[in-house]
């Protein structure tokens, strides 16, 4: 040690001997000082955040506003136009457009003169601009020069042309014509064309004379192309000159003549009477004081046939008018309507529950018979016996079915007594059964309290009822159900696999080339387009797995009535989405596992715990919040995914839910009968949005539904995420981080 101490001084002189390096000075450049404070980066980064934030918030606010206002009862307007139409309906949207000259063509006279009045000031301004500018004289000068040159050339050529053969002559003339056409614009061609017309027809001898005649004609025509003359004629209001110059300004000079205008999309409906859902009405078309809001204009939302706008004329029972005044009709309407609707719903429920049970039993028996036929052959004794038994039981059950039908018919008969006679704005009348009216809304008569009732009743219908009118009206309950069940099933499928895979990768596998490549593959999997998963899902799950399943368990049914599992369905859709979201879960879980401190694992191992005990008791609980985060991300991604679902089981309209609420009698499980039907196709909100917006027959009317459905989808994903986040917070509280 003493040596070591002694050796220290010996080092000092050595370093002193070395030449001293100059100390590096940090120079401060004036420009750098601002950056040094970080202010520009603060603005840049903050600005980035603000832009992202604004985009997201404005999107959400837009959807929220559009979605929330859709169901508010709009006032019903009556509009009279200058061309004598009268329309009744709701203003659906306002739209700005540019009124152009071309809009004049093909319009009725009343509209045309109105439009010209609107356009005139704008045209005046533009033509005046053209006339005042140098454009006019410049252009005339150019044209004049070109014509003169052409004429001179032709006159020079004339003798040559004259001596040539007739065919050549014709060719030359044609060439001249083409040259003139292509090089000179309309304006000049008018004059040049006249010249050539006189040239082309003449015979060889008189050609020279014809040329000179043409030349003099051209001179005359050019003489007419006088700026001063044009201006004079224009100011005198010469129509021909006016229109020439308007066209000139329009086409050649690219001067826009456009007047910003507003029109409204008027939802008039009454499709069976007018064959139209919408009418466009420009503001100028409406007569002065032509817009009014008649008190008793009423909107009827019907079960079938769309909306009806009109005035109540008579309330009828058994064809007899009991009320004829709108106020009296409206006073009597709610009670009768409610009764009729109750009967209608009762009939529907009888049909669904009892008729449904009857049909299910029949289907079950029929499948059983097919099964017998499949096993023993169609000619076998067993089959014949079973067939006879089936027929017998059909016979026995027939009265039961008759009874159900007669009860429904009785209700329908009762309902058909009550009708309302509506008078459309064009005078046509329509008698509508009360039972077929979902909702009546004399919006102009309603006070705001009653409007709120309508608003909430529409929301209720939207959330809890089946769709009507090819999905563009009614509710989206089946889609909500499908979305939620599919997302939950997907989560149940993806989390265990994802967590197990991540556990192996992080805890068991030895780091190396294989593990790295597997990890890279998983990360890349997250970037595969979702439709690819859809294709894989339909090929692998539906056709291969489902097909095999059908062959083994439902051979008879498949042969007779098509595949059970061998086609798109909720189960396969969930598995496909589970595959899609697997990378998210794996990556998040791996990160959560690697965040568990080494000291905890060592502590557990030092206690004599095995690796698995350590993972189960220490690592997994600690990593659970992180795993939950992965699950939340996966759920959010899966719930919003549409493209693969279109291939593996989401449909426009599913006749049944995947859970048969009226069929608890049957067996549970993955069977074609019973309460749970994971093999059935389902409705999904995301697909519903696509369908409404782009596939609907009346997509214009479905537009507001797109917004409400979007709002609902966002809401459902938010609710599921919030639930998962809450769960994660609970877990985090339990396994909070150590202070060290």
């Amino acid at each position: 040690m003493s040596q070591a101490v002694e050796s220290n001084p010996s080092i000092e002189p050595a370093s002193a001997d070395e030449p001293k390096l100059p100390r590096a000075r940090r120079r401060v450049r004036p420009g750098a000082s601002v950056i040094a404070q970080g202010e520009p980066m603060l603005w840049l980064t903050g600005g980035g955040l603000v832009i992202c934030f604004l985009m997201v918030v404005s999107l959400l606010l837009y959807v929220l506003w559009q979605g929330m206002t859709t169901f508010w009862p709009q006032p019903i307007a009556q509009v009279e136009t200058i061309d004598g139409r009268t329309l009744l309906g709701e203003v659906f949207a306002y739209d700005g457009y540019d009124l152009k000259l071309s809009s004049l063509t093909g319009q009725p006279d009343a509209i045309r003169s109105e439009l010209e009045d609107i356009l005139h000031p704008a045209l005046q301004t533009i033509v005046q601009e053209v006339v005042d500018s140098n454009l006019l004289s410049d252009r005339l000068e150019t044209n004049r020069a070109m014509i003169q040159k052409a004429v001179a050339t032709q006159v020079q050529l004339a003798p040559a042309v004259q001596q040539s053969a007739p065919e050549t002559r014709k060719a030359i003339v044609d060439e001249i014509r083409t040259t003139l056409d292509s090089r000179w614009d309309d304006f000049v061609t008018r004059f040049a064309g006249e010249l050539l017309a006189s040239v082309g027809d003449v015979s060889g001898d008189s050609l020279a004379g014809a040329w000179s005649v043409a030349a003099s004609q051209a001179e005359t025509a050019l003489g007419q192309l006088d700026v001063a003359e044009f201006r004079k004629q224009f100011s005198e209001g010469d129509d021909a000159i006016y229109s020439i110059w308007v066209r000139e300004a329009w086409t050649s000079l690219a001067m826009p003549v456009a007047v910003p205008m507003r029109r409204r999309e008027f939802r008039t409906e009454n499709f069976e009477l007018t064959s139209e859902h919408f009418n466009w009405v420009s503001d100028f078309e409406i007569k002065p004081d032509g817009e009014s809001f008649p008190e008793w204009a009423t909107l009827l939302e019907r079960v079938e046939g769309g909306r009806f706008y009109g005035f109540p004329a008579e309330l009828r029972i058994d064809g007899e008018a009991i009320e004829t005044e709108p106020a009296a009709i409206w006073a009597a309407f709610p009670k009768l309507h409610a009764e009729c609707r109750e009967r209608w719903i009762e009939g529907k429920e009888i049909d669904e529950i009892e008729g449904g049970a009857f049909n299910r039993r029949r289907e079950h028996d029929r499948l059983a018979l097919i099964e017998v036929g499949y096993q023993h052959g169609k000619g076998s004794d067993e089959y014949l016996k079973a067939k006879a038994a089936l027929e017998e039981s059909e016979q026995a059950h027939a009265p039961e079915y008759q009874e159900i039908r007669s009860r429904i018919e009785e209700l329908n008969r009762w309902n058909s007594r009550y009708t309302i006679l509506m008078k459309a704005i064009d005078g046509q009348e329509k008698e509508i059964p009360l039972a077929e009216i979902v909702r009546a809304c004399p919006a102009n008569h309603f006070a705001s309290g009653e409007k709120w009732n309508v608003y909430f009743s529409r929301w209720r219908e939207f959330l809890f009822d089946n769709p009507r009118e090819a999905n563009s009206e009614g509710g989206v309950y089946p889609a909500i159900f499908g979305t939620v069940v599919m997302t939950l099933l997907m989560s149940i499928a993806v989390v265990p696999f994802g967590v197990l895979a991540a556990l192996y990768l992080r805890e068991y596998a030895k780091a190396g080339l294989v593990v790295s490549s597997v990890r890279i593959a998983i990360n890349n999997l997250a970037g595969v387009p979702s439709i690819v998963f859809g294709v894989f899902g339909v090929g692998f799950f539906c056709y291969m797995v489902g097909g095999t399943f059908d062959e083994v368990f439902y051979a008879a049914k498949t042969a007779d009535a098509g595949p059970t599992y061998g086609t798109g369905g909720l189960f396969w859709a969930s598995l496909t989405l589970a595959l899609l979201t697997l990378p998210v879960v794996i990556v998040a879980t791996e990160e959560a596992l690697s965040a568990v401190p080494r000291s905890m694992r060592e502590g557990s191992l030092a206690c004599g715990a095995t690796k698995w005990q350590t993972i189960r008791r220490i690592v997994l609980p600690r990593a659970l919040p992180g795993i939950m985060t992965g699950t939340i991300l996966a759920m959010a991604r899966g719930a919003g995914e549409v493209a693969p679902l279109m291939l593996v089981g989401a449909v426009k309209l599913a006749p049944h839910l995947v859970v048969d609420l009226h069929d608890w009698s049957g067996s549970f499980g993955p069977l074609p009968t019973g309460a749970l039907h994971p093999e059935r196709s389902f409705m999904h909100l995301g697909f519903h949005i696509f369908d409404l917006g782009f596939q609907s027959q009346n997509s214009e009317a479905a537009k507001p539904m797109v917004y409400t459905t979007t709002l609902l989808l966002i809401g459902i994903i938010a609710v599921m995420n919030i639930a998962a986040i809450w769960l994660r917070a609970q877990l985090r509280k339990k396994f909070q981080f150590s202070q060290f």
Partner: protein, 298 residues
């Protein structure tokens, strides 16, 4: 045993010879040059029964050798401290005892250790069963994310013990043993992470002694604690003396002198001197040891 007693004497003699030569032979420099150095082991060590025998233990991290032929015994029921400058291998040696070094892929071992006569390094040893026979406390308190009660009975839980009475009894005994019972007896079912740093470390000690270990390994248990908490832990070690054989790694020489019965001084993977704490700190046989304990280097 006999060879053990003879060996120190012989190395003692060499050491004396080395020192006698005007201090020109310096063990630390020899080690730096990569030469072999014999440890000086005081004969008093051999008077005790050993709980742990360390025979010629060598250890490599990849190509780099971290321990060189360590030979020592850990006396039963005594507190043995390992001291030495950073990187001298004392923690590595401690972690060899319960084979925590197995967790590092590149580690190779040589020699053997015997816990009450049973081999530790032999490939046929069940590591899990081996670790159940000892307790370990780490540098940083590492209570598990569960209640105080569950933390203490964790070793029993993993053994599948479910009897509530047994668990409660063990919990109380261990917490009393770790001098924590009075502070936490009313909140046994609150999270162990809510305790203060010193309490957490005592909780870890309670966990380590809950399974009645044959040897207790403490890896710088006070390095992350404030002086008051350190004092409590030291008092606790004092109380545990006699009931448990304790092997403690420490950076703090005062701590070693306060709590331990025997002290081993290590340097760059070599055992330099090993003997009763009193004699090692007051009249060490080697100049190097004296320099270190006087704070002249390291």
């Amino acid at each position: 045993m006999i060879s053990n007693t003879e060996q120190p004497q012989s190395s003692d003699a060499t050491a004396n010879a080395a020192q006698g030569d005007n201090g020109k032979i310096n063990r630390l420099e020899m080690i730096t040059r990569g030469e072999h150095v014999d440890a000086v082991i005081h004969p008093e060590v051999a008077k005790h029964n050993s709980v742990l025998d360390i025979d010629n233990v060598c250890l490599w991290y990849g190509d780099k050798q971290a321990l060189f032929d360590i030979n020592m015994i850990v006396p039963d029921g005594q507190v043995t401290a390992l001291i030495g400058p950073s990187g001298c291998g004392k923690s590595t040696l401690l972690r060899c005892v319960n084979r925590m070094n197995d967790l590092i892929d590149s580690v190779r071992l040589g020699g053997d250790m015997r816990l009450n006569g049973d081999s530790i390094f032999s490939p046929s040893v069940d590591v899990i069963a081996l670790r159940k026979r000892m307790g370990m406390v780490f540098q940083k308190p590492n209570p598990f994310p569960m209640s105080i009660f569950e933390n203490v009975v964790y070793p029993l839980r993993i053994d599948g013990e479910r009897d509530r009475n047994v668990l409660e009894e063990v919990c109380e005994r261990a917490l009393r043993g770790a001098a924590l019972w009075g502070e936490v007896k009313d909140r046994l079912h609150e999270s162990g992470l809510g305790l203060s740093g010193g309490q957490q470390q005592r909780l870890c000690i309670a966990r380590a002694i809950a399974s009645d270990p044959e040897v207790l390994l403490l890896d710088e248990p006070c390095s992350a604690l404030d002086p008051i908490a350190t004092g409590k832990i030291e008092d606790l070690i004092d109380e545990l003396r006699g009931d448990y054989s304790i092997l403690i790694v420490t950076h703090n020489m005062q701590q070693a002198s306060r709590v331990s019965d025997f002290t081993a001084f290590m340097y760059l993977g070599h055992l330099i001197e090993y003997g009763p704490t009193v004699s090692l700190f007051t009249k060490p046989k080697l100049k190097e040891t004296e320099d270190y304990v006087m704070g002249r280097f390291g």
